[in-house]
Each structure stands twice: as structure tokens, then as C-alpha cells.
């Protein structure tokens, strides 16, 4: 009998348990512990700096957020909601459009799909820095294009009316390829026979899309809408690099980051904001899943 490469029968019994223990330890350390610590820190005035005291203060941060600092909180929540809705709708619309356009065989289509997906693999910081340079009104190319086309100029990311839409567009540019791939997977799951039946019934392109493709893409839509909304709810890095949260672009995620790690350096207050963001995420995520699942069943 050949010798087993995984040790004796006695030691082999531990392999399944070790397989659970190793990821379990990772989860304890990198999942559960930071989560519990965040909850704990939210009741303190901890600076987050090593060796500094925790300064337990009970509900002080929650109290301040809903009383003395409520304007700042509601402003961040409002911007977050606009950002989430805007990006989710636009990214899914563009992702779906691209999927319909590029869901064909052939090397050129593979190339285009890869090209459109590519921004997804770049670092958010790099993308943000590149777009910040491109949108600089004096040294960036965007000003020349806008001036050439419309004979006008703009402060772009320094404009209170344009900054948020521009940040949303950069976000959509970066992640539309991801939505496209999910929609393509959904499109490929639709049986050809359904389209043949629709064609025999005399349905045109629009009617086929409306009554066949769109309903049968329900599960892909659920996944896409849920992932996009959850991803954008916590977004802060891209906004930080593009505008620093100025000109009406401070989301709850960015407010949290700046409170915890910015000049304020108050991890306690930032942790409290992270808890509020968690609640917002649960409410929006839960609501979305419930609605989209019901829609899937209804279809």
C-alpha cells in the first residue's frame, strides 16, 4: 500500500479541523476583532494613536452627532444617498448598454470587453490622481476640449455644481466594466429559443428587450444593483483624491475617514460614524434585496 502524502491516519483526522481553524483564526483576527473594536471605540474619545488613553465617554459621540453636529451628519447622509442612487442607476444603465453591445463572439469584442473592464484593476488613488490632473483647469486637457467645443471654461472639480457629478462619472467609468460582465453573464443564460419565439411572434428589437431580455436579466440586475449600491455606500478614497470632500462631495464614508484618520485624528468619533454607516448599509442593502427579490419572483 502506497504511503499517504498527508501523514498517518491519526494526523489526517486533524486536516479538516485545521482547514476550519486557519480561516477561522483569520476571521477572528481580521473580521470579528476589528468589528467589535469599532463598536467599542464608538463609545470613546480615543485618538487612535498608540499608547493614548481610550477616554470612555458613553454615548457622547452619538449624542453629538444627533445634536450639536447634526448638520454635518445629515449633509453627509444626503450626499451619500445622491451618490449611491446616481452611481447605481448610471453604472447599471451603462453596464447594461455595453453588455448588449459587446455580447458577441470574436476577438475584437473580447479585446473591447477587456479594455472596458481594465479601469477596475487600477488603484482608486491612481485613477483619482489621473482624473484630478486631467480636470485641472490650467494644466489639464479637459479644459482645452471643453473650451474648443463650447467656447467656455470651468473649474471642474472646484465647481460646487459640477464636482459631485464629475466624481460620480469617474466612479462609473471605473466600475462600468464590472457591471457589464455580470450583465453579459446574465445575457448568456437566456435561452436562444425564447428569442426565436419572440421573433416568430413578430416582436421588434425594443419589444424583445422590454418583454424578454429585461425580465430575464432580473437576477443579474439584482446582483449588479446590490453590489454597486453597497460598493458606493462606503466610497471615500476616490472622492478624497478628487475633491478632498469639498464642493459638496463629502459622503458619510469620507466624513468617517477624515474624522478618524484626518487632522482631527479622533478614532472614537470616526468609529461612531462607521456604526451609523453600518446601520445605513443594512437598511439600504436590506431594502434593496427585499425589493429586488420580490421583483424577481413577480417576473
Amino acid at each position: 500500500m502506497a504511503r499517504c502524502p498527508f501523514g498517518t491516519q491519526r494526523t489526517r483526522r486533524f486536516i479538516p479541523w485545521a482547514s476550519i481553524a486557519i480561516p477561522g483564526a483569520g476571521w477572528l483576527l481580521f473580521g470579528l476583532y476589528p468589528s467589535l473594536a469599532t463598536i467599542g471605540y464608538s463609545f470613546t474619545r480615543y485618538s487612535g494613536l498608540p499608547g493614548t488613553p481610550l477616554n470612555f465617554c458613553g454615548m457622547c459621540n452619538y449624542h453629538a452627532a444627533f445634536t450639536s453636529l447634526s448638520d454635518q451628519l445629515w449633509s453627509a447622509v444626503r450626499v451619500t444617498l445622491i451618490y449611491v442612487v446616481g452611481v447605481t442607476v448610471l453604472q447599471n444603465a451603462i453596464g447594461l448598454g455595453l453588455a448588449l453591445l459587446l455580447n458577441r463572439s470574436g476577438r475584437s469584442y473580447t479585446f473591447y470587453r477587456a479594455l472596458i473592464f481594465m479601469p477596475q484593476i487600477f488603484s482608486v488613488t491612481v485613477v483619482g490622481a489621473v482624473f484630478a490632473l486631467m480636470l485641472d483647469p490650467y494644466s489639464g486637457p479637459a479644459e482645452k476640449v471643453v473650451h474648443g467645443l463650447f467656447g467656455t471654461d470651468s473649474a471642474f472639480l472646484g465647481s460646487s455644481s459640477l464636482a459631485l457629478p464629475l466624481v460620480m462619472l469617474v466612479n462609473v467609468w471605473m466600475f462600468s466594466g464590472y457591471s457589464m460582465l455580470i450583465y453579459i453573464a446574465g445575457l448568456r443564460n437566456i435561452p436562444a429559443s425564447v428569442y426565436e419565439a419572440a421573433a416568430m411572434d413578430g416582436a421588434g428589437r425594443f419589444r424583445t428587450f422590454r418583454h424578454v431580455t429585461w425580465p430575464l436579466l432580473a437576477s443579474a440586475t439584482t446582483v449588479n444593483v446590490f453590489l454597486t449600491a453597497m460598493g458606493t455606500l462606503g466610497e471615500y478614497a476616490l472622492i478624497l483624491v478628487l475633491t478632498g470632500g469639498n464642493f459638496g462631495t463629502k459622503t458619510l464614508g469620507l466624513y468617517m475617514f477624515q474624522s478618524a484618520f484626518g487632522a482631527d485624528s479622533q478614532l472614537g468619533y470616526g468609529s461612531m460614524l462607521a456604526m451609523l454607516q453600518f446601520v445605513l448599509t443594512v437598511v439600504i442593502g436590506g431594502g434593496l434585496l427585499y425589493t429586488l427579490r420580490r421583483r424577481e419572483v413577480a417576473l
Binding site: 479541523w17 485545521a18 476550519i20 481553524a21 486557519i22 477561522g24 483564526a25 483569520g26 477572528l28 483576527l29 476583532y33 474619545r45 485618538s47 494613536l49 498608540p50 499608547g51 493614548t52 488613553p53 477616554n55 453629538a64 452627532a65 445634536t67 450639536s68 453636529l69 448638520d71 454635518q72 488613488t125 484630478a132 490632473l133 480636470l135 485641472d136 483647469p137 490650467y138 494644466s139 479644459e143 471654461d153 470651468s154 473649474a155 471642474f156 472639480l157 472646484g158 465647481s159 460646487s160 478624497l240 483624491v241 475633491t243 478632498g244 469639498n246 464642493f247 466624513y255 475617514f257 474624522s259 484618520f261 484626518g262 487632522a263 482631527d264 485624528s265 479622533q266 472614537g268 468619533y269
Partner: protein, 450 residues
């Protein structure tokens, strides 16, 4: 059997987690192998300062065989530097660290219930080594060092750099000469010069409005107005009295001095470049330097001298503090406390860190530091360098004063609470002075009420 398995599994998981925790918190800072010791230095990215630190570190390594210096840096933009130094302290893997001077304003009085932040929090928690009795401290002014990095009779850092920030203004000497203009000495003269330049088809001022550099105008005017007729040494008291009065509600952002500073700010802002709101601080000095026929003035701190010179080595540039009042004597240079070297108590190589600071503080090396960074000297025995753009600054050092500290605001407070929000104030934003100041006053009261 089942309970045994469960217990074994739990124990294994916890042990592994513990082992991983141990791995994550341990630091490998000084074992490059064999007899090599690594001195870990961290500093934020400022081209001149980094260049000097690399130069001095090479010299230090030569003088200390077996010592290797590892310099880590990150830009201050987007919180990168804050994240780096916090991580280095958490992992106990830094021996010498550059921090912003905490100053006495970092320690808000007990009645505010505010907790210290940044370097001040580290000092209060006993995380920094007392440098007071180190021999190299004799090269610096002990009173100034105590005011900038001291607490309860101890000095926890050596402030090596000071810059001009409030009202700081770079100018193109040749361009002013072309229009027969001098460095202005009063606020009205400055406005008149801007008007002359504007009529000649030149945009007078270039500023990064995207990163709030326009606030320097307001800060400069406000500092000069509040310090009018006062000795430079009074600035600490003026700042702390003001912070105290704000907290107690006897002063407010709607007071006449702030209305006047805002009105003057608006007058200056008429002369900035269009779309200044979209210009980032990262690109502003380079764009300004490269356009030698336009924008005679640049609103930017004196720390950017090396960046401007690198962008256009041929530029004949000068520097002055914008006159904020019509009394020339009141228009003084304000200095912003800046880079301060600290040694964490967790440092593995404290002795080497002290030796590095000793070498840094030697007059010949410190003089090179001043030359590379454009900083104002914090060593009384050393005059500022002969950098060509420092002529105005050198002539105005005698009555220069440290920039006034800001009123205390709680963490998470809106930008408005700490003063006018220049992103919303015209012309960068759309709100009027009245709206902005009323909002600031209200935001301040509301944020401290909690």
C-alpha cells in the same frame, strides 16, 4: 468526543489568531543581518527636506559604520502621511519621526473636555522622549522650543522648521519691475498694484482654490489686525485668550475684526485667476512658475520655494507677506511652526536617533537644511540663508511673530466652526460674507454646546 473536538478546534483557532496577532504587532526594525543596525526615520514629502535628509543620512552612515538609515515618506495630501506615521508608531518601527509642532494650543484646557490630538496626544500619553537635556538642544532657543513642543517643563521635540503661511505671497521680480511696481507695504498699495496689473491685461494673483490656499489672505489680514501694536512674544497669549473667549462665548466669528478681514479678503479675491477653484495645490506652484509673463503673485506658503525653483530655475522670484492693513508697521511677517523631530518612547534605537539629531543640529548641517528647505532658522546663532528670494523675509525677521492659534473645536465639527468656509465664500463659492460669518458663528456655538 464532540465536546473535545469543539474545545480542540476553538483552542486551535484562538492560538492561531494569537500567533497572527503577535506577528502583526511585532516589529523588525533593526536587524539588517549581521552587525548592521537600521535607524528608521519617517518624514512627510517635501522635496527640499527629503533631499536634505537623504544627504545627511548618507553622511551619518559614513560616520557610523554598521548603521543603515531607512527613510520612509508620504505626501501630506489625502491623509497619506497621517496614515503612515500612525502605522509606524503602532508597529513600533520608527526611531525618529517628523511631526507638526503641537504648540500650546494643542492642549485645550480641562473645562473644554476636548482631548489632545496628534503630537499633543502623544505627549500627554508619554509616548515621546523628553529631549530637554540633550546636548544638541543648546543650539536652539529653549523658550521657543518649550512653547512649540513642551509640556510641564519638558521638551518633547525639536522644531527645526518654520515657514510663512498666513498672507504668504510669492512674486515675479521681473514682472513687477516691468510695470514699475514695488513690493507693497500697505493694503491699499497692494490693491492699487493689482488694479494696475489688471488694466495692463495681466491677471494679478494665482492661487490654488481647490485646496483652500485662498484662506491665507484672510488669515494674514486677521493675524496682522489682531497683533497690531503687540510684541511678537504676545502672540501665544493673544491666541489662547481668543480661543478662551470663543469657547466662553464672549467672542464670535461675527465680531467686527472678522467682518473687516472678510471684506478685505473679498477685495483681494477680485484679482485671482478665473477658475481658481479648480486649481490643485499640487500643480499651482509649477503652473505659476512656468508662466513668466502672467500672474505676478502666487498665494502659497514659503515652503514651496524649492518646488518653484525646480519648475523654472530661471525665474527671478521673490517673497513677501501680503500687507493686510494700511499701517505699514502692522504688516508683519507671521511664522507657522512646522517640522518637529520627535523620538518615540517605543524607538529601538534611541541613542542613534539622538546622534542623528546631534549631527542635524550642527551649524554647518543645519545651514544646509535651511538652504534646501527655505525654512526660517530656529537656531538663534544662525541667520537665515542667503537664498535670493529670502531678502524681504530676512529684512522683516525682527518683528515677525508666530501665527495665532485657532479657537478650539471638537472632533467632527464642520469646517465652518473653525472659521469662514472659503470654499463657500465668494468668489470660490457663492455665499456672501454675512452668510458665511453667521453660519460660522452658529456652527461654532452649536459644536461646542455638545
Amino acid at each position: 468526543m464532540r465536546p473535545r473536538i469543539t474545545v480542540t478546534l476553538t483552542a486551535a483557532t484562538v492560538c492561531l489568531a494569537g500567533a497572527l496577532t503577535g506577528c502583526s504587532s511585532s516589529s523588525s526594525d533593526n536587524s539588517g543581518g549581521g552587525s548592521t543596525t537600521t535607524l528608521n526615520i519617517a518624514e512627510w514629502t517635501n522635496p527640499g527636506a527629503i533631499q536634505f535628509t537623504q544627504w545627511l543620512s548618507a553622511k551619518f552612515e559614513k560616520a557610523h559604520p554598521g548603521v543603515k538609515i531607512k527613510l520612509q515618506q508620504a505626501p501630506t495630501a489625502n491623509g497619506a502621511w497621517g496614515t503612515l506615521w500612525n502605522s509606524l508608531l503602532q508597529s513600533k518601527s520608527v526611531d525618529l519621526l517628523a511631526l507638526q509642532a503641537p504648540t500650546q494650543a494643542g492642549f485645550a484646557p480641562g473645562y473644554t473636555s476636548l482631548k489632545a490630538q496628534g503630537a499633543a496626544a502623544l505627549i500627554e500619553a508619554g509616548q515621546l522622549v523628553d529631549l530637554k537635556d540633550q546636548p544638541f538642544m543648546k543650539n536652539y532657543d529653549p523658550t521657543m522650543q518649550a512653547a512649540m513642543a513642551g509640556r510641564n517643563g519638558h521638551i518633547y521635540g525639536v522644531m527645526a522648521a518654520e515657514y510663512s503661511a498666513a498672507g504668504a505671497m510669492w512674486y515675479k521680480k521681473d514682472l513687477l519691475a516691468k510695470y514699475h511696481l514695488d513690493v507693497p507695504t500697505t493694503f491699499q498699495q497692494f490693491l492699487d498694484e493689482c488694479e494696475t496689473l489688471k488694466k495692463a491685461g495681466v491677471t494679478p494673483i494665482f492661487v490654488s482654490g481647490k485646496d483652500g490656499m485662498q484662506g491665507g489672505v484672510w488669515q494674514g489680514v486677521m493675524n496682522q489686525m489682531l497683533m497690531q501694536g503687540k510684541a511678537p512674544a504676545d502672540s501665544v497669549k493673544v491666541g489662547s485668550d481668543r480661543a478662551d473667549a470663543f469657547w466662553k462665548g464672549t467672542q464670535s466669528w461675527t465680531d467686527p475684526v472678522y467682518r473687516e478681514a472678510s471684506a478685505r479678503y473679498e477685495k483681494v479675491m477680485k484679482y485671482i485667476e478665473p477658475n481658481a477653484a479648480g486649481v490643485a495645490q499640487l500643480t499651482a506652484p509649477g503652473v505659476w512658475a512656468s508662466k513668466s509673463d502672467d500672474y505676478p503673485f502666487l498665494l502659497d506658503g514659503s515652503w514651496d520655494g524649492a518646488v518653484i525653483q525646480q519648475a523654472n530655475p530661471k525665474l527671478n522670484m521673490g517673497f513677501f507677506t501680503m500687507p493686510g492693513t494700511d499701517d505699514a508697521a502692522a504688516n508683519r511677517l507671521t511664522l507657522k511652526p512646522d517640522l518637529t523631530w520627535v523620538v518615540p518612547t517605543s524607538a529601538k534605537n534611541k541613542t542613534l536617533a539622538m546622534q542623528w539629531l546631534t549631527m542635524f543640529s550642527e551649524p554647518e548641517n543645519y545651514k544646509e537644511w535651511l538652504k534646501q528647505t527655505g525654512s526660517v532658522s530656529t537656531q538663534p546663532a544662525l541667520q537665515n540663508t542667503g537664498l535670493s528670494w529670502m531678502d524681504w523675509q530676512n529684512a522683516h525677521m525682527t518683528d515677525a511673530f508666530p501665527q495665532l492659534s485657532s479657537p478650539w473645536v471638537p472632533a467632527g465639527a464642520p469646517l465652518d466652526a473653525g472659521g469662514p468656509d472659503f470654499y463657500k465664500l465668494t468668489p470660490i463659492g457663492k455665499d456672501s460674507v454675512d452668510t458665511i460669518l453667521n453660519r460660522s458663528a452658529s456652527a461654532y456655538r452649536k459644536s461646542v454646546a455638545g
